[in-house]
Amino acid sequence: MKPISAALCLVVAGAVAALGGPARAQQTVKIGSVLSVSGPASFLGDPEDKTLRMYVDKINAAGGVAGNKIELVIYDDGGDANKARTFATRLIEDDKVVAMIGGSTTGTTMAMLPVFEGAEVPFISLGGAIEIIDPVSKYVFKTPHTDKMACEKIFEDLKQRALTKIALIAGTDGFGSSMRVQCTLAAPKYGIQIVTEETYGPRDSDMTAQLTKIKNTAGVQAVVNTGFGQGPAIVTRNYAQLGMGAVPLYQSHGVASKSFIELAGPAADGVRLPAAALLVADKLPDNDPQKKIVVDYKATYEATAKQPVSTFGGHAYDGLYILVDAIKRANSTDPKKIRDEIEKTKGFVGTGGIVNMSPTDHLGLDLSAFRMLEIKGGDWILMAPKS
């Protein structure tokens, strides 16, 4: 009987050690992340996931942050907001993370927001819409430029070209419709008139019907497409197919990856879009403050992930380093102190721009963070900034 009980005790002790062990093995700081690594928004979550893993390894190899190794916990919500909500609770209650980076989309972010706000754990979102940070929630930040900013950047460019009557074509996914709303709100300020609006489903494979209607609408001087995923590539191709090239086409920052140019092919020539400096890393003048960081990130990402860099992964990079800097400054793993330091982020140079946060601005980017790009011969051209 005795050996059996002894063995049993050993097994139980082992199990306890195995369960409780890793968390206490050494000084670590636990950072959580919920990303849409699979599902319809996987082209956002996938590079974000790769970026976070890549750079956390790097940071740990270099000794960690403030003497702590980072332990990264990533969950894949598959784009499902309800699942994201559950993982958020899991990160807080079970994993006891000190901070969170993620929420690939606005939808998942908004579902998780109350959890982190309630638990008082800082949450740096990678979602696009302005509603994430407006109104400001104490514990919620974000790194990607807002859709409102994208609209404004596009409208600025339109104004420069003296184009005032536009058609809007929007994807009916969260990104597309949110930006559509923001553009509609921002248009009057720039004297832009939206003559006609069309939409397409996120999985539609042919937009010629919608574009034909726009083509046949009198007085359209430019077309703005708010959307992400494969939709804008098809819009661009159908646009060329219908011979609408004479009317300028604007895409959003939702297509900010080289793969858009590949998918749209020659049809992409002449398309303009607002995007972060990351896309034109090597074309930036040497004195550009972002030059070093974006060139480095691009090289690191493309070497490790073996796919073209996108601004989406860049947002995760920015989020991670804003957080790491804040932890260093706070010299603590107390979520509240980390939050305070994140809010004090000033002059942080990231892939998305230069971040200056404040208690009223949890994004910290202005319009200058956006560059207006044009596609020429299968590559991005940096448009001269407005004089």
């Binding site: 939409t199 494979s205 042919d206 011979g243 793969s259």
Partner: protein, 290 residues
């Protein structure tokens, strides 16, 4: 006029793909009474395998052949490993199995390939053809023509070959077919392989236009199922007509009514048709035998 033709061609192109998926549904359903919700994944496999084979430097036609072969293998494996062992299970159980298969295939594709969108070069260039004032991509003719050819071949197969007749007999009455010596297992194997091949060919034809990624299958399965039901389940002609009609409904709905509600318009029409004709447009009206 040019507008009308533009919508028509757009609807026909999209509809042709729906028709191929619906045809796959119908083929499997007639042979085995299984509604195969993994049907869309064959389309995905056709596109994705071709893309990745081509990326490895395999010439496009060879890559396409490999893709079709791969899809057929998956179709047969699905039958042998999942459907055949569940013979006699209730229809919903079988549906859930195929849904599980669809999740599995999508999950495997995201690991095996990647989560990016991909395209194939158009078979005969990207210069639009002017058709009565409408600009049509040359690839559209490939899609429509390819679909027509598949339908024709399938028709000849069903009408002219012993195996085709066996398939029709099995569809009409499985027990009777077995009694007259038809090997219904062969027929079902054939149906699963055939539907996979049809789906894969559809995927290859359409990828230059619609792009592809690991998860294109879900929506196509949904639309293909709707098309098959609209036409009348178990009737190949109905599947093709249902698919084309669905494509046209979406395209004309988007063009003339509302692009936002185009899918809604299509489903309202389907609902109205089914309420008026409970067996679909071309379905057999069955008399209840008691």
């Amino acid at each position: 006029m040019s507008e009308f033709v533009q919508f028509l061609m757009s609807g026909l192109t999209v509809g042709a793909v729906y028709a191929l998926v619906a045809l796959g549904f119908t083929l499997v359903y007639t042979a085995s009474d299984v509604v195969n919700f993994a049907q869309g994944e064959f389309v995905m496999l056709g596109g994705m395998v071709t893309v990745f084979m081509a990326a490895l430097g395999v010439p496009l036609p060879v890559a396409a052949l490999i893709a079709v072969a791969a899809a057929v293998c998956v179709g047969l494996l699905l039958y042998w490993l999942a459907i055949a062992p569940s013979r006699g299970a209730s229809p919903v159980t079988l549906i859930i199995i195929t849904i599980g298969a669809s999740i599995l295939l999508r999950g495997a594709a995201q690991v095996l390939f990647d989560k990016q969108f991909h395209k194939l070069p158009s078979f005969s260039g990207d210069v639009p053809v002017n058709l009565l004032g409408a600009a049509v991509q040359p690839q559209s003719f490939w899609v429509i023509g390819g679909t027509a050819l598949i339908v024709l071949l399938l028709y000849l197969f069903m009408e002219r070959t012993v195996l085709g007749k066996a398939l029709r007999a099995t569809a009409a009455n499985r027990l009777a077919a077995r009694l007259v010596g038809i090997n219904t297992t062969t027929v079902m194997t054939l149906a699963f392989g055939g539907s996979a091949a049809i789906g894969a060919i559809g995927g290859i034809l359409v990828t230059p236009i619609t792009l592809t990624s690991y998860d294109v299958g879900t929506l196509l399965a949904l639309k293909g199922f709707a098309a098959a039901m609209l036409g009348g389940m178990g009737n190949p002609l109905g599947a093709v007509m249902g698919g084309i009609l669905l494509g046209l409904l979406e395209s004309f709905g988007a063009g003339y009514l509302s692009s936002t509600y185009k899918d809604g318009i299509a489903f309202v029409v389907i609902l109205v048709v089914l309420v008026a004709m409970p067996q679909g447009l071309f379905g057999r009206r069955s008399v209840e035998r008691v």
